[in-house]
């Protein structure tokens, strides 16, 4: 039974990673989960300087989902290298450093600094955080900016360069095409959707920043459609993300074209969710008489002639 896959020479031991911002720096839940059984860990977003993040309230539960407005709170890349990377280096799983920035130069600086360190297997570029005023969505909703960031970062590394895309655009496939043309090795689809909730008692927004990012099972059908759309448009691997709680959810993402998946919100409920999903994915593959989990990728049977999406792809 083959579970592994590789991107640009980096091997991932299975197709289940944990999504950035939902698993800290990997050391918070050592007691609860054997992280070496994950395909990889995407770190909390790293910026050049530490960021305090947004004031409370940062979290609101919504039907089958949650809104967050953390605001990229992180210890900064220098503290990450000193305090977190030594532990991550001891792990036997792929370490993907997620980078967030408020300027193209900052993306380049953080990536270049990380390039000089041992223990990073690849980079995921966050151009899609909905909860900060500078950077974030300003880049991710502008196709030429997303393209430019990819073009500027590509020459700086020979490791996998993954661009994490936002669904808060009309056609996510245009963005996927742009970054693929500039040499990105993969895309992560999707980051959170802009959402909000209002307290009708106080008549104030529940989140301090008014709007936040929606995640959880509530967004899964939408995420699947976005992954499918991107899979029709580009040939580079896709990390499918969005409300994956179970192995069955993961199978759906692979079938519509995700090469691998990332588990996000589910980690908050069960830090071992990723490991359980990886186990379930293996069982599903075995039960269906396949030798490689990768045989599920893009294996959905559909009649393209009836696909509405294909009219504008």
């Amino acid at each position: 039974m083959k579970e592994s896959f590789s991107i640009r020479g980096v091997e991932f031991k299975n197709r289940v990673l944990v999504a950035s911002g939902t698993f800290g720096y990997g050391d918070e839940v050592k007691d609860l989960v054997d992280v070496n059984k994950l395909g990889g860990i995407c770190t909390k977003s790293l910026s050049w300087k530490p960021r305090d993040g947004n004031p409370p309230r940062r979290i609101v539960e919504t039907p089958s989902g949650m809104l967050n407005s953390i605001g990229l709170a992180n210890i900064g890349v220098h503290n990450f290298i000193k305090e977190k990377l030594p532990y991550l280096r001891t792990l036997d799983t792929a370490i993907i450093a997620n980078i967030a920035a408020s300027s193209i130069e900052e993306y380049c600086d953080v990536l270049s600094l990380l390039e000089q360190q041992e223990g990073i297997d690849g980079y995921e570029i966050n151009v899609s955080c909905p909860n900060v005023k500078e950077g974030g969505l300003i880049f991710g909703t502008d196709c030429s900016k997303t393209r430019e960031i990819t073009a500027r970062l590509r020459p700086l590394t020979n490791k996998p360069l993954i661009i994490k895309l936002t669904p808060n655009v009309t056609h996510i496939s245009e963005f996927a095409r742009a970054v693929a043309e500039e040499g990105a090795d993969a895309v992560s689809v999707i980051n959170t959707l802009i959402g909000m909730a209002v307290d009708i008692g106080t008549r104030k927004p529940k989140l301090s920043t008014v709007t936040g990012g929606l995640s959880g099972p509530a967004i899964k059908p939408l995420a699947l459609a976005k992954v499918y759309e991107v899979a029709q448009a580009v040939r580079i691997p896709i990390f499918g993300i969005g409300g994956i709680m179970t192995a069955e959810d993961a199978v759906e993402f692979l079938l519509v074209g995700a090469t691998a998946i990332q588990v996000g919100t589910a980690n908050f409920i069960d830090p071992a969710a990723g490991v359980k999903i990886a186990d379930g994915l293996r069982s599903y593959t075995e039960k269906n008489g396949l030798q490689d989990v990768g045989q599920l990728v893009g294996a959905m049977e559909s009649n393209v002639a009836f696909s509405v999406l294909h009219t504008w792809l």
Binding site: E28, R58, I59, M66, F268, P271
Partner: protein, 256 residues
């Protein structure tokens, strides 16, 4: 050590109006718990509610953990509907315990409403440490008071239906005005506005004060970064209620 366990409910009772006592059995959680810590509970394997709910550990009874909570939404409504034999998905114990060590002789416990939850467990530990205890317990009205397993209880109600007529912090202020209290430490839990008022009283009277906070959190273990409270000192602007709290020295945080 933090455990994630599916545990059986062993006991459930409505102890005061809208206040529920629920016990579950877990030797591991029970043995590693300290006063002030909490557990994060999922009462159904479902998407509604999706997230766990945090609850103070109210008391240990053998290898069982007792919770005290009120019904505020769907999660707590489902928990209140549990019966012995039902199961819960429990993550814990979590968070930083109350700092009970120190030179003080008398502990002044101040609880507002369901904020009484962590204090039976704390009372047990303070007694073991040989501290004198005075407990101030406030509620809106008499039948919402949950005074079990506490020591030396003085009561206040907002409507005057029992004890002191006014807020629990006003009662504490009165108490401190009438006697010289030296070598004391305050432990407070309740609504943020109450804790803010309590911290002011503690500041005026120069009494060390620890408070236990609530936070809107998803995970309870530091992954989501969802439960910040503003610090009053140090380099970092925020502390996380789940892993740096829920207990804080009142001096170290800004209550708003």
């Amino acid at each position: 050590m933090i455990y994630q366990r599916i545990v059986p409910v062993t006991y459930r009772e409505e102890t005061a109006e809208g206040l529920f006592v629920l016990r579950f059995q877990s030797k591991e959680v029970s043995e590693s718990a300290s006063p002030g810590q909490f557990v994060n509970i999922r009462s159904a394997d479902a998407c509604l509610p999706l997230l766990r709910r945090p609850f103070s550990i109210s008391r240990r009874v053998g290898d069982e953990i007792e919770l005290l909570f009120n019904v505020v939404g769907q999660g707590t409504r489902m928990l209140a509907a549990k019966r012995p034999g039902d199961v819960l998905d429990v993550l814990g114990p979590l968070g930083v315990p109350f700092a009970t060590q120190g030179e003080y002789e008398t502990a002044l416990i101040v609880a507002g409403g369901v904020g009484v939850a962590p204090f039976p467990f704390l009372t047990e530990e303070l007694k073991q440490r040989g501290k004198a205890i005075v407990t101030f317990l406030g509620a809106r009205t008499a039948n919402q008071l949950a005074a079990a397993n506490l020591e030396n209880v003085q009561v206040s109600t907002d409507d005057g239906s029992r004890g002191y007529h006014g807020t629990v912090v006003a009662l504490v202020r009165e108490y401190l005005r009438q006697r010289r209290v030296s070598r004391s430490k305050i432990f407070g839990c309740g609504p943020t506005r109450m804790l803010k008022a309590l911290a002011e009283v503690a500041g005026e009277t120069n009494i060390d004060c620890e408070v236990s906070l609530e936070g809107n959190m998803a995970c309870g273990v530091g992954l989501c970064q969802g439960c910040p409270v503003e610090r009053s000192n140090g380099k970092k602007k925020y502390a996380l209620v789940c892993v740096e709290g829920p207990t804080f020295n009142a001096k170290d945080i800004i209550l708003t």
